[in-house]
């Protein structure tokens, strides 16, 4: 019987904080006035996320494994845990105003957000396949519901439905893969699976199914079909959270499973070619499809598919624990989660009651009406394009160099070409904002949404900091990968 002592509880703290927050939100909501903005819920949510942040910082250090090996608090999980908690916090800040505009200012909204965060943190820290599955499901179910929360908009319902159906299908693959791996080894703990020879058909088949399941969750081509519709239909704040948090948590678990359970050379030789294909396809399909979009959210969805490809380049060129590739992925996903969240925060800010601000053409002349929003959006887009001195540049540089260093030249070249093409569609909105006359009316008369502005400011500042002074974050990412054992 495991001793449920301090180690067990300590490891659980980052998850407990948002979980208790979610319960507190649910219990507070009925006592609030119906018509008025539900600020107490925002405070509770923010408080619990800050507590999660503090817990993550408190645990930062050597690897602690608890709960019979189910959960591991190590730098690897905590690193992306910070990204997840930050993304959730910024989403809450922007939701304070946005949820009211969309008519979903309710307890369920915030509690689902916090429950999804708890699931993501569990996923990032999961050390056995059962916890991976439970983390993914807790996160996904909450996010499916969030995607459909604006029930009056048919597109939102469509997004939730498509995301849910395809997600459930992918979960089937994941679960079947886990079952096969368990059948082959009798183990669910990642480091114990690593002890088994990798060239066994059952184990390899299980790995294959896992790749499909994870491929779906991180949105890699050809498992990306849900992404455009889900991103476009879901309310903007949720989409941002989805793009940042789900991807960060998914990559954390994906990378951990690959490095820990299938980190041996024989196993790596099996998954590397498959991931090579996924990475190349994601970059090419994502970039080319994004070119043709007229809807900003849809364009960002395809861009997130392409970015999954870039991150996968690092996974393929990981070079194991000793190489820089895995650390590059961690850093890349960290920067990506901030820079993809940013544009959605701006969209949420610009949206009017019940109406999303999502057409690229509507951006025309934005710089004159809303200079701050336009500047921030430009910064985020430049970073997504990978233009220095933003974080996006550092992330791409780190990933591509790691891949080329470990001999994956072809993948590096595809990545660089895709980046060059992508500059076109990232720059187009900027050109529109700054060089065109305004066409649509902007809601300049509304009171300024300070919380939203603050969130956007934090994201922009983080991107600049990570771009100009990346050394600390990169050093931490290297340390994180080294500390996996």
């Amino acid at each position: 019987m495991p001793d449920i002592g301090s180690a067990e509880l300590r490891v659980l703290l980052p998850v407990l904080a948002p979980l208790l927050g979610a319960l507190a939100v649910l219990l507070t909501d009925p006592y609030l006035d119906k018509g008025r903005p539900k600020l107490p819920l925002v405070y509770i949510a923010l408080g619990s996320l800050m507590a999660a942040w503090a817990a993550l910082g408190f645990l930062w250090g050597d690897r602690v494994v608890a709960w019979s090996g189910a959960l591991a608090a190590d730098r690897f999980g905590l690193y992306l845990g910070f990204a997840i908690a930050t993304a959730a916090g910024l989403t809450v800040l922007s939701s304070a105003g946005y949820a009211r505009k969309m008519g979903v200012d309710c307890g369920e909204y915030y509690s689902l957000l916090l429950l999804a965060t708890a699931g993501m943190l569990l996923l990032a820290m999961a050390n056995d396949l059962l916890m991976v599955f439970l983390g993914i499901e807790t996160m996904s179910i909450a996010v499916y519901c969030l995607a459909g929360i604006t029930r009056e908009r048919p597109r939102s319902v469509e997004a939730a439905m498509k995301y849910f159906l395809l997600g459930a299908f992918a979960t089937g693959f994941l679960l079947y893969g886990i079952a096969l791996i368990y059948g082959a080894t009798g183990e669910v703990r990642l480091e114990r699976i690593a002890h088994h020879a990798a060239n066994r058909p059952l184990l390899l088949a299980g790995l294959g199914f896992l790749l499909v399941g994870f491929g779906f969750k991180v949105g890699a081509v050809p498992f990306h079909m849900w992404a455009p519709d889900a991103y476009e239909g879901a309310p903007a704040a949720v989409t941002g959270f989805m793009a940042a948090g789900v991807k960060a948590a998914g990559f954390a678990a994906f990378l951990r499973v690959l490095l820990t359970a299938f980190g041996g050379e024989a196993a790596a030789a099996a998954w590397a070619p498959a991931l090579w294909m996924l990475a190349a396809l994601s970059m090419i399909v994502g970039t080319l499809s994004a070119l043709a979009q007229t809807n900003l959210k849809r364009m960002l969805a395809w861009s997130s598919v392409a970015h999954t490809g870039y991150a996968l380049v690092g996974v393929v060129g990981g070079g194991g624990v000793a190489g820089n590739g895995s650390a590059a992925v961690l850093f890349y996903v960290l920067t990506y989660s901030v820079m993809t969240l940013g544009p959605f925060l701006v969209i949420a800010l610009l949206s009017r009651a019940g109406e999303e601000f999502e057409q690229i053409d509507d951006l025309a002349g934005l710089a004159r009406r809303r200079p701050v929003a336009a500047a921030a959006l430009s910064l985020f887009l430049l970073s997504l394009a990978g233009i220095p001195p933003t974080a996006g540049f550092m992330g791409k540089l780190f990933v591509f160099r790691a891949a080329i260093d470990s001999g994956w030249l072809g993948l590096g070249v595809i990545g660089i070409l895709a980046t060059l093409v992508s500059v076109y569609y990232y720059l187009r909105p900027i050109v529109l904002m700054y060089m065109r006359e305004p066409r649509a009316e902007f809601n300049a008369s509304e009171p300024t949404d300070w919380a939203s502005h603050f969130a956007i400011g934090v994201a922009a500042l983080a991107l600049l900091l990570l771009g100009v002074l990346p050394s600390d974050a990169i050093a931490a990412s290297l340390e994180s990968v080294r500390g996996l054992w």
Partner: protein
């Protein structure tokens, strides 16, 4: 004897699973699904997992399927509302997809079987395997955290479904 029961149960499972997707009337699909769960429960029994077999019947056969039936009955679609059968091309595609999935499932297991790769025969199972005591002990010691996290998962599902279905936000 075990082989005989297994064969019978798998045939029931296979035919009823087939009926689930081929019946046009959703009520019959649901009825076939109940039958399928019954067959599955028998297979679980043969695998020395009586608790799982019982849960299969209680939770899936007894509770979830009744809710399915509930919805189907409330909608109570008539023949003309069910719409025309999907065309042959759709069916062909579905058959190919199902076949491919079946291959994906069967091939690794067969390969494992020929390579003598896997978990080992049932005889090597520990004493009391599949019993309620054993299961309870495992759930509350080694797998305590996954067990508890499941409740978080269910909470998320409950909050989400209540939110999506209630009249006023």
């Amino acid at each position: 004897m075990d082989d005989l029961i297994f064969t019978a149960a798998s045939i029931v499972c296979f035919l009823s699973a087939l009926a689930v997707v081929t019946r046009k009337n959703p009520i019959y699909s649901a009825v076939s699904l109940i039958l399928f769960f019954g067959g599955l429960a028998v297979i679980f029994l043969l695998l020395r997992a009586p608790f799982v077999a019982g849960m299969q019947l209680i939770v899936y056969g007894g509770a979830i399927l009744v809710l399915f039936l509930f919805v189907i009955m409330l909608l109570n679609l008539r023949e003309e509302e069910l719409g025309k059968e999907k065309g042959g091309r759709f069916k062909a595609f579905a058959a190919v997809a199902a076949g491919a999935l079946a291959l994906l499932v069967i091939v690794p297991v067969m390969a494992a079987e020929t390579a003598r790769d896997g978990f080992g025969p049932l005889a090597s199972l520990p004493d009391g395997f599949g019993s309620v005591d054993h299961l309870g002990l495992a759930l509350f010691t080694q797998f305590a955290l996954p067990f508890e996290v499941t409740s978080v998962l269910l909470l998320a599902a409950i909050v989400g479904s209540v939110m999506l279905s209630k009249k006023h936000v």
